[in-house]
Subunit: 346 residues, 4 copies
Amino acid sequence: MNAATRRLRLGVVGLGRLGKRHAENLAYRVPGASLVAACSPLEEERAWAREALSEPRLYDDYADLLADREVDAVWLVTPSSLHAQQIVDALHAGKHVFCEKPLSLDLAECERVLAEAARYPHLQATIGFMRRFDPSYKDAFDRIQSGAIGRPFLVRSQTTDKNDNDGFFVRFAATSGGIFLDCTVHDIDVARWLLGKPRAKRVFAAGAVALHEGLREFGDVDNGVAICEFEDGKLAMFYASRTQAHGNDTHSEVIGTAGALAIGHNPRANRVEIYDATGIRNECTPSFFDRFEDAFLHEARAFVAAVQGGASSNVQSGATLADALEATRIGMALRQSLQSGEAVAL
Amino acid sequence: MNAATRRLRLGVVGLGRLGKRHAENLAYRVPGASLVAACSPLEEERAWAREALSEPRLYDDYADLLADREVDAVWLVTPSSLHAQQIVDALHAGKHVFCEKPLSLDLAECERVLAEAARYPHLQATIGFMRRFDPSYKDAFDRIQSGAIGRPFLVRSQTTDKNDNDGFFVRFAATSGGIFLDCTVHDIDVARWLLGKPRAKRVFAAGAVALHEGLREFGDVDNGVAICEFEDGKLAMFYASRTQAHGNDTHSEVIGTAGALAIGHNPRANRVEIYDATGIRNECTPSFFDRFEDAFLHEARAFVAAVQGGASSNVQSGATLADALEATRIGMALRQSLQSGEAVAL
Amino acid sequence: MNAATRRLRLGVVGLGRLGKRHAENLAYRVPGASLVAACSPLEEERAWAREALSEPRLYDDYADLLADREVDAVWLVTPSSLHAQQIVDALHAGKHVFCEKPLSLDLAECERVLAEAARYPHLQATIGFMRRFDPSYKDAFDRIQSGAIGRPFLVRSQTTDKNDNDGFFVRFAATSGGIFLDCTVHDIDVARWLLGKPRAKRVFAAGAVALHEGLREFGDVDNGVAICEFEDGKLAMFYASRTQAHGNDTHSEVIGTAGALAIGHNPRANRVEIYDATGIRNECTPSFFDRFEDAFLHEARAFVAAVQGGASSNVQSGATLADALEATRIGMALRQSLQSGEAVAL
Amino acid sequence: MNAATRRLRLGVVGLGRLGKRHAENLAYRVPGASLVAACSPLEEERAWAREALSEPRLYDDYADLLADREVDAVWLVTPSSLHAQQIVDALHAGKHVFCEKPLSLDLAECERVLAEAARYPHLQATIGFMRRFDPSYKDAFDRIQSGAIGRPFLVRSQTTDKNDNDGFFVRFAATSGGIFLDCTVHDIDVARWLLGKPRAKRVFAAGAVALHEGLREFGDVDNGVAICEFEDGKLAMFYASRTQAHGNDTHSEVIGTAGALAIGHNPRANRVEIYDATGIRNECTPSFFDRFEDAFLHEARAFVAAVQGGASSNVQSGATLADALEATRIGMALRQSLQSGEAVAL
């Protein structure tokens, strides 16, 4: 970074666990950025910001943050149901916007955001599919671009979480959109990204309730499997689980006509191997939070670089609103297939 | 083995590449067995047998071998289309029978064999799903039985072969039954075996022609993916491929409520790792033949032990005719789903 | 970090490749630190600093930086032969000091620095053995402390670099101290740290010139092996190499009475595995620079935290001057053994 | 094998655990061999042979077996102290001889056997260093021969056993020769074999008593480390342990000027990986018996092929008496170095 470049002034909105991480990254670890403002309706979260960040201006109302002329961009880490309107409001206020996934669980709303955003082509609007910024996913992407595996035609990708006995996600089931929209949406984005953004044409999904019976009343499952057929004979297989014993196990494979790549096949927590009476083992990343620590940072840097580089920017780009819309469209079709037992054409 | 037990006298039928391996195992590596006869319509195969085996009686006609009173059991390694009738003929002749998979690609024929076999309960009739005898698959099975992973509910299993530029399987496509009946049938049996033999209730399949365009005229693909829903909320995902760059990569996973097991995740050719300018690598098993060398031997020993142990035998059992029928039934449903684009209920 | 804590104002000295990395970490990624000054005799390095850092005060003379009252601590990334005197000068100037390894290649000089430092107990003086801050090494250390492997009694550790055809280290051989003082010194520190800082009592070393004949005139080798016996029956084995084909392969094992730990056994560049006609492989970390990227950052944070926490600080501590002296003492004995062919008692 | 070749008639001597395995291999799994006789002074071992083998002639006295004209070769699995004289006696009786390692723990006796054997050049005399016949070690050897790693110059090799709380080897310490002659002798042979049979010129060894204090009175240790310098700048590092928690962990690496090979880096029991709350693990080979099951079989086949092929035989050859002598010579120097604390020149 050239220190002379004008710093991008950001305001973070939402200071839950993930919001705090984003805030710390933006405050201290992204050279061209200044985190100048933070917004949360909760006093305890603002108190955290007062301590942890460097002289932030604090707001309890999103509208007030948007009115702050010293804020160039907003970083939304808010409940999913607020995303769409908050993005539109940010664009109206002339601010670049980064928003955690999902764009929306409602297709019409997704489309409304895209239509609004089309009116502000000079503003960056990115949805946070952070895997694109994980160094290993990025390396795989680059290898594919360089032709290392020939023509890629199949992605297998999974998002599986360590079982949470408290079943937070069961209480969350009414609004999460179900396992495919909550978890698999990441794998959908990975598959489209690695396969060259093909359009989906048909999906099928099935599922099982392994441990959390409470999900049944929401038509949801704690383990789901799916197939997605894209145009041009490209394929994806997905697996999502809430009930793994060993940790968060996010991995993906992409298979081409001349080779294949696997990303994260063994979800090693680090470089340590333990030799004891049970054999030889490594511990696993406990949560996506640990697994994607680097990715969140690279994502923040890339967003800042994209804004600063303008339209000609050549930096690794995050998911566009159109990508997010497509991921939601496919995720909804998976949910429909799960519930109907039929293949769903798109 | 107690050397005093009367040796089982076997006749092998079919002496192609796989037939030769079975013959050598039965001749030299299965303590309680004597390979006393071999049958092939090809003079060069009989010539091989004359050299390689120990004083075998050679036949060019299966009926003659069946008439040999000194043969207790037949070992069929013949073309798939002959299996059903040859099994029935062996039973009629009072001989135990081992037959390579598949039982038949025709469901009615499968059922006819089962009906016949029901009349000969004292005769062993086993279909050769050798993975059950691979020491690693067997170890996983035993761990599941002991409760190591809780209740198993999902199997993911694949059969993928190194690409054969000659495309032998393209010429073979008219009679192979397609990729699911030819390859995935092994994974189907593995899934049912590891999940406690549940009945399938619905399947969905899709596929791609990555390299071998000649398959299209047969409605076949060189890469296929599938989901199988069993009763009781159990699931399986399958992948089959003819086009891998790295070798035969047969692996399976079974996921339970308290843990998971993977079998063969890295298809290592052996225990050597190579460090050079390309990184650190291991070579892969080139073909199923190399991967399952041990399994073929254990399979032969288990068959002999089962015959010798009689009904009370507690040895690891191979696939029954009923298992083979179920594998064919599911494989055919996968083919139907591939061709229709619809989920198929069973 | 509490944002209210007074920031530690640092000056970096030496802006070569490693100096630049330290400078960027201190400038942007260590919350409690401000990099306020930089010193280099080279105009091009100062020009880099002018661009890359945020308003640094620039010096071409170390004495001028030491005279800067706004600098609390100096960070030395200078040629090894300057380290000892520069540390002493920094302490005399009342500044905390971090210095890259080695303390000195001369034992008397090491002892002189310790004697001087004893007069400034309120000042932090740390030598940069960064492996202690690598998350995996740190995890292994913590496991040992918790008793996971019983009593540790053997460390095996290696530092091996990708072969450099240009042979930079051959030209550097006259002043590097040889392979054991240049490379193995890290492994010596790791061994002492993981084994509870035992004193060495005897060493033996041997070596080979695999590729770089030019080393012979310096009595140096491009591959060295060594054994170190510590008091209390503890042992270490070391390997150092300049000629690896696959990359920088830094790994260590520690073996205890109830288990063992390996750190970095496969020097994976990232989480990607490549499947192609050569097998399954991962690429390797090309250099220590890539391998220890995180460690350099954690090291900087720990130094700042140690200064800010004062004597009561409980943060992970870096190598003390006494540790560095001991590493040099052992390294010199290894060199002596290599050259004499005899075991050397300490 | 051509079935017409005259079968080699073998007599096995010693029917302990390892003797039984050899006997079963020779009886049932080596096509050109017939195990026609067995010798043991213990009635229970002869009883086992009566049951398990196929019509063996049983002897309780080695001299009687040697007098059996129907025995072409003897297979010695007897106590080490008997090896040398039994080999000489077999040669005098005109029989080929295979003998488990070691040849002898006494150098003069080794040399006496070599002198006797020189009088019987038509008789095969092989010492059982079975690692040469392990498929992975063999693959590494072949790769080296083909130039895959350039010029090999360093071997690191270890023999480490799962801790035996009963401490059998403590009771055995008086006659075992100590850890280097009992365990490392395999690694010495591996190093010489992989490096092209260089002569050793200097060794150094050190050790620790981690758990088994009873070894001290014999001057022995339960963990030993060593360096061996060969002529031509070749090197080896050895590690031997009786106290591993995870299993038998036999592995070796060979490093060359253009790459490296590792054999058995992770001592996997099989292809299963277990995912549970402790992470991802594989179990380990519990003992050398499990690890080298295949090697013992290949070793037997190679011996039979070598005898049948005569002098022109091109089969993989086992260790010669001269190899065994050299391994003993180096092992004794290691013991001397351990006890003296000095490097020992050879």
